[in-house]
């Protein structure tokens, strides 16, 4: 046990513990010293607290890698520069374009985009409803003498009410059902793709590509099952649905930091990469010594030389220049010329 503790990344573990402590503190504050906390949700809370630690730990380890650290540092450096307003506006545009409507996935395929959007938005809606409920931040109650209106409280403060049986009440009580339907539809679309696309069939793995889909489907179907049960079956299958639902959600939360779902948190780096590219182009482009054409920003090439050195690669040439100064086409041509030279020396172009 102690041996494993020594192998922990200390900085990441500290960050993880701070994030965990903050979450627990916010649970106490938001639920008014657990007064509004629902004990039935303790399993979900434990899973969420573990996920907070795991995600923070892995994220902290991840951004310590030389290539990731560079983008992290550069993104913050460029954002908080004299171009702050320009880059903040660009950042907002990118949040909408890349994180909310996920335009880049649309360019990769329409069906894929529809499927991904359905379960991404379903998950987002699900989290937006369940996390505040699990933390005890939101609770609903009647006022004395009024059993017709339900009042929502956030962090203990009344936020407004709605009449039971109204459209608003229907939407509020069925929010998770809508989310589950979206997730189910999206997952089915993606499963169909994974079963029919030859390329995906060859490269997919059970633990990375299928487990996330099974988890989402399990959560969504048992979630719908709970609503179906209390609406049409008078609660006869409630125990089964509720326990199975809790199991799938907790498994999802435990898997969150380690598996495919971690890309949700990594995606933010895409915004940093675009910001980096924009600033780099502004500062000037690198010209390939072979093609004499610009191919990347000089900033990028210089940074990459450092990152590749940090990773143990030394592309320094005898004359002190660097092989990475060549564009991809320049590198391919250089290889072909070196090969031709050897063939010439060998006395024949074809062997």
């Amino acid at each position: 046990m102690l041996k494993h503790l020594h192998s922990l990344n200390r900085k990441a573990a500290v960050n993880g513990l701070i994030a965990t402590a903050l979450t627990i503190a916010l649970v106490f504050i938001g639920s008014r010293n657990l007064q509004n906390f629902d004990p039935a949700l303790i399993g979900y809370l434990a899973g969420t607290v573990f996920a907070v630690f795991g995600v923070t730990y892995r994220y902290s380890v991840w951004i310590q890698r030389p290539a990731t650290q560079l983008y992290w540092k550069r993104s913050l450096q460029f954002l908080f520069s004299k171009s702050f307003i320009t880059y903040s506006l660009l950042g907002l545009k990118l949040v909408f374009q890349n994180l909310l409507i996920q335009k880049f996935i649309f360019k990769r395929g329409t069906t894929r985009w529809i499927g991904h959007m359905l379960f991404a938005m379903g998950c987002l809606l699900g989290f937006a409803i369940t996390l505040p409920l699990t933390f005890g931040w939101i609770h609903f109650e009647f006022k004395p003498g009024d059993t017709m209106n339900y009042y929502a409280h956030f962090f203990g403060f009344e936020m407004g009410g709605f009449e039971l049986g109204s459209l608003m009440a229907f939407m509020a009580f069925h929010g998770l059902v809508f989310a589950a339907i979206m997730v189910t539809a999206g997952v089915v679309m993606i499963i169909r793709r994974r079963l029919t696309d030859g390329g995906l069939i060859a490269t997919q793995t059970f633990e990375f590509d299928w487990i996330p889909l099974f988890l989402l489907l399990g959560i969504a179907l048992t979630g719908i099952g709970i609503a179906f049960d209390y609406t049409y079956l008078q609660g006869r299958t409630y125990q089964f649905m509720a326990i199975f639902h809790a199991m799938t959600v907790i498994l999802f939360l435990l898997y969150l930091p380690y598996g495919k779902f971690f890309h949700i948190f990594q995606r933010l780096a895409q915004l940093g990469a675009i910001l980096y590219r924009t600033e780099g182009q502004k500062r000037g482009m690198a010209i390939c010594p072979h093609t004499k054409e610009p191919f990347a920003s000089q900033l990028h090439i210089d940074d990459l030389k450092q990152v590749s050195r940090d990773m143990g690669f030394d592309f320094t040439l005898e004359d002190g220049s660097n092989y990475l100064d060549l564009s991809p086409e320049g590198k391919r041509s250089t290889l072909a010329k070196a090969h031709m030279k050897v063939r010439e020396e060998g006395g024949g172009f074809f062997g």
């Binding site: 030859g198 040439l317 991809p328």
Partner: protein, 189 residues
């Protein structure tokens, strides 16, 4: 991936001096299902103002891939069978580090898709013992996929080499380049 008949491992052999620039490999590459119908092979003139020489380049599948090492998103993985896989679509952030760090100039990046893609030796085919698309159509056998015995018979004066030098960096690859006998290393620059 062993040959079905002899049990000898099948390997990829490139001889860019045999490339005639017909682009058949490019068309065939787009048929590979792992690429999503996009051609990943590179074929172009080496130095057009001075020569009509063309060159062809597939991923060399390095033992220690620079592309995977400089990837900030852990998107590129090296399989147990030595295949360096194209970027995971869920992870790739489209930063182009891999495109610029690869010493063979292989990965391609799509700006609209924010995604790097590269040759993965037609994994849908080679993982089940079939030849990669490009090697099945190359008329001059600049791209050849077969056993070492077969290539030795076809190129009696050549030898497969998979060690390359780029400045101070030595790179060992899964894919071989055919060189005159007596060579075991290609110093690129």
């Amino acid at each position: 991936m062993p040959d079905n008949t002899s049990g000898e491992p099948m390997e990829f052999f490139i001889d860019m001096q045999r490339c005639i620039g017909c682009n058949a490999c490019e068309m065939a590459c787009a048929e590979c299902e792992t690429n999503g119908q996009e051609s990943m092979i590179h074929i172009h003139y080496v130095d057009r103002p001075f020569s009509v020489q063309t060159t062809v380049q597939v991923c060399m599948h390095c033992e220690e891939p620079a592309c995977a090492n400089v990837c900030p998103a852990d998107a590129i993985t090296l399989g147990a069978d030595g295949i360096v896989h194209t970027a995971k679509t869920s992870h790739c952030i489209g930063c182009s580090n891999c495109v610029l760090a690869c010493p063979f100039g292989v990965p391609k990046k799509s700006d609209t898709k924010e995604l790097m893609m590269k040759c993965n030796m037609c994994y849908d085919r080679t993982s089940v013992g079939k030849k990669p698309m490009c090697a099945t159509v190359c008329p001059s056998q600049a791209l050849y996929f077969g056993t070492r015995t077969e290539i030795a018979e076809k190129r009696p004066n050549s030898i497969p080499v998979n060690h390359f030098g780029f400045g101070n960096e030595n790179v060992k690859t899964k894919v071989n380049i055919m060189m005159p006998k007596g060579y075991s290393f290609l110093k690129v620059k």
